[in-house]
Structure formats: structure tokens, C-alpha cells
Symmetry: C2
Amino acid sequence: MLDHPLLRKLAALSPLSDEDRRHLTQVAAHPVAVPTRTDLIREGDTPRGVFLVLEGMACRYKILPDGNRQVLAFLIPGDFCDLDVSLLNAMDHAIGTLSPCLVVHIPTRTVGDLLDDHPGIARAMRLAALVEAATARQWLVNVGRRSCERRLAHILCEMLVRLRHVGLASDVGYDLLLTQVDLADATGMTSVHVNRSLRALRRRGLIEIQGRRIAIPDLAALEAAAEFDPRYLRHAGTDPRLRPGLRETAPPDASVFREAALPVDGA
Amino acid sequence: MLDHPLLRKLAALSPLSDEDRRHLTQVAAHPVAVPTRTDLIREGDTPRGVFLVLEGMACRYKILPDGNRQVLAFLIPGDFCDLDVSLLNAMDHAIGTLSPCLVVHIPTRTVGDLLDDHPGIARAMRLAALVEAATARQWLVNVGRRSCERRLAHILCEMLVRLRHVGLASDVGYDLLLTQVDLADATGMTSVHVNRSLRALRRRGLIEIQGRRIAIPDLAALEAAAEFDPRYLRHAGTDPRLRPGLRETAPPDASVFREAALPVDGA
DNA sequence: CGACAGATTGACTGGGTTCAACTTAAGTGG
DNA sequence: CCACTTAAGTTGAACCCAGTCAATCTGTCG
């Protein structure tokens, strides 16, 4: 039961009862095989539910008028797309596979039931959505302000942690089912320059690549090179062991708001 | 009552009852003045509620080890931060003012009551959150795949639409309470290059700048230069007038999923 | 054995950064 | 009311990171 990626992922965020687990397992009982480079949903489509990836890798992406693609997020086993998607009547981006995948489609109604009738699941899924939002912020920082080599290192670190969360990576490496073009479109680079930057990382001894396998001989070194801090990937959760301590210098008063602010006569 | 930015923004997304309006007005009754460049909450802080901006401009941002800043989103009057923030125990980014602001702090508990007891408000706020997520995706595309001049044009178009939604922009322009450094940190550029690119836009006759005032003589031209499509800013909503038609060629079958997919024996 | 996608490498180019000086605007206090 | 201070905007020149173009290599699969 633990090898079910969705269960692993959600249980790591918030405790799940046996009943929750049973229910989730049932919801994901009938996956469908989808070949590489196939859209699950396109920009402009009306979402009829949520997709859940059980095997393989997919991505959210947008295509620009000039044909360029920007990858917005990678979806790995255990990932699903927007909970509140039912409120929308048109997708502003597409979701497509990057490798052969096993995917489950969960109808809007089932999602609603899940959220309404299973508070434990609802909480875990809301937390997962917050982690995804935090990841999106990291990507914006990545593309906006980090050097190309660091960007790649950062994404490789991120994928290691995420894959490990669902049992798909060892401590030393993992299979990255992506092409260098996919990495380029995710990091705002050219595939040519992805290639060169990967080589640079290889030469620095930070990674080793054999086919699709990424090996990381010295994780601490790679994380340092990436300025990677994994806390955003789990910064939710009630488990005190997971509680982050992002600031080293504890603030005497949390909010500058109260100090600096001047009360004003309201309305 | 309509000049309340929060009401204008939410009402545009989903219908609000008079009672909803009364309640929201009351929640935002006691704003506080906050000077420029003041943090409302910092990275690592535990959120104790939600901030609502009534006047001025603020932003979400992150600071990198080398001191560089990445702005993740601009907050304008009517904007508030994450609803589900109470699930977190540490912010992964900071929120700070970029101009003198009037801000309301809404305690976690009040937010919960609002969401639980006022379904109309809850729906509108969930939609607003989805629009913010869509905006974040646009920013990633912006920084990842658009030329610098286009990036700036895109952000200027976006701000026009958003400010117009809360009655703070005319058809021809608005006051942008940001410095060129702020724009640079939002677009992944240098302030020097922001300056040069703005000049280029000015020379092309797409914008006019006087102090903080941005005038847009020919909106269609600017939108074309930016490849800007405003639908993501309102693509939610039940109002059929707001229903987007992102694709011009209607798909015969919405989901390639069903076509391409091969059923697989599940678990 | 082709055929094709993906990876790799080289040479050249250019968009955007860096560094630094200077101007303008907006306070602030004597 | 003006001298002083500071933040923001503007401009030039040199440099370099990363894109572009294009050829070649490698592996895989029918």
C-alpha cells in the first residue's frame, strides 16, 4: 500500500486514517496508459476534473505565439492538478506528458466528495497545493535571478527531493524522464546551453549522467552550488519534526507591521 | 460603497449579496498606514492571518544569498494574500510595501469564518486566488521566454487591467507606484536595462511617462507588442459575459486523453 | 539497415549586465 | 527659504553570458 505514490506524498504532508488510505487507493484504482508527448488537457479546454499521475512525468506548459514553450511545472507520480479547477471554465495552460505515463482522471464530482467528506484528505491535498505554489515561486526565482548553472542544479536537487518523497529516488540518484529540451523550457534556457551547463556540472563533479540516470555523488556540494534549501517542499505539515526554522536570528516580535504602523481612522 | 477596492474586485469575479458586501466592508473597516519599504511579514515568520491592501502597492518577494531580490507578485488595492495560509507555519517568502499603503490585517479566525459562513465571499476569494495563480504563471512565461521589452510591456498591460478592475486606472493610463528597480526585480532584469527598455517603448510611441504616471496612447498597439491577452485576469467567473474563448478552433472532443489513452488494469 | 529523436560540440553574434558618472527630484532641517 | 542629503532616474562604454546557427554523433526502434 505504501508504494502508492499519492498515498506516500499525502501522508508525508498530513496524517491519513486507514479509511482515508482505502478511499484514495480506490479513487486511483483505474489508471490509463498515455504515450509520450500527449496532452491531457489543452489551453482553453474546460476542465472536467483532476488528473493524477501514477507513473512517468508530465508537465504544465504554455506555448507562445512564436512557438516557444515555457514549462510551468513538472508533474511526477503522486502529483495532481488544481483542486479548485472546477471553478474555472477554461484552462489558461496545457498539461501534457513528457514520458509514457499512467494517469488517473478524477471527475469534478469525485474531487468534491473527497474534499467534503474526508477532511484528512482535504487537508493533505490543500497542503500539497500550497507546496506546489511554493515550488512555482522557486521557479520564478530560478529563472529570474539565478545563473544558468545554478538553475539546473536547483531543479536537479528539487527533483531528487520530490522523487524521494514518493520512493522513486535513492540517496544517490534517480531516473529523470526528461529531455534536455524539457529542462531548457523549464529553466528559460536553450537546449544547447542546458547541454553545456550539465557538462560543466559534470566537470565540477557535482553530477554524473548515464542515459536518463542522474547520480549525485555529493549532495551537500550540489545543494550548495544550487543554493538549494529543501524546506519549501514540505514547509507545511503539522508534524513538528518538519517544522522549518527559516530564519536563524529569531525575531523578538514577528511582525514589523505592528511596530511601524500608524493606526488610521477607518472608513 | 463601490469605491471599496476589495468589493469591486470580488464582485467582478462572482456575484455578492448585499449582506456579503456589508460584511466585507466591516472586515476592512480599520486600515493601518504603513510607510514605504516596510515588511508586513518576513520569510520564516508564522502567518497569523491575511493582509489586505486598500491603498498603495506592495509585493511578495524573496531575497537571495547574494542580496538579489526577486519580486513574485505585485499587490494592489483589493489584493490579499493566501487564504490557506493558516495551514502553514512558516512563510516561504516575504511581503513588503513598495509605496505608502493602507493595509488591513485579518486574523486567521476571521478568515475562516468568512469562508465558512459566507459561501458567496468564499467563492469569490477562491476565484481571486486562482487568478493570482494564473498571473504567477504569466510571470514565469514572462521571465522565461519573452524579450525584455515585451516583458515590460506585458507587465504594464497587466497593471492597467488590474488597476482598472478596482477603479484606479482610466482607459488611457494610471499611476504606477513602483520604482524602476521594483520593475527590474519583477521581470528578472537590471534597473539600467529597465530604463533603456522603457525608453525604447516610449520611442516607439507605445507609452508616455511623466513621473509615476503611465499613459498609454494606443492600448491595442501596446497589447500587440506585449503579446498580452487579458483573459487570464478574469478567466474565472460564472458570468457568461466573462466566459473566455481561448481557442478559436473549437475542439471536437475536449480531451486527447480519451483518444490517445489505452486502458490499463488497475492495481 | 535506415530513420529519427536526442545529445554534443564549435564558431559567431548579440542582448543584457556591469561599472561608473551624472542628472533630476524630493525631501529635511537649520 | 535655501543648503544639504538622499533616492531615483538617465546615459555611456566595455564586457560577457547565453543564444543562434549548423554540423556531427549516438542511441534506439521498426
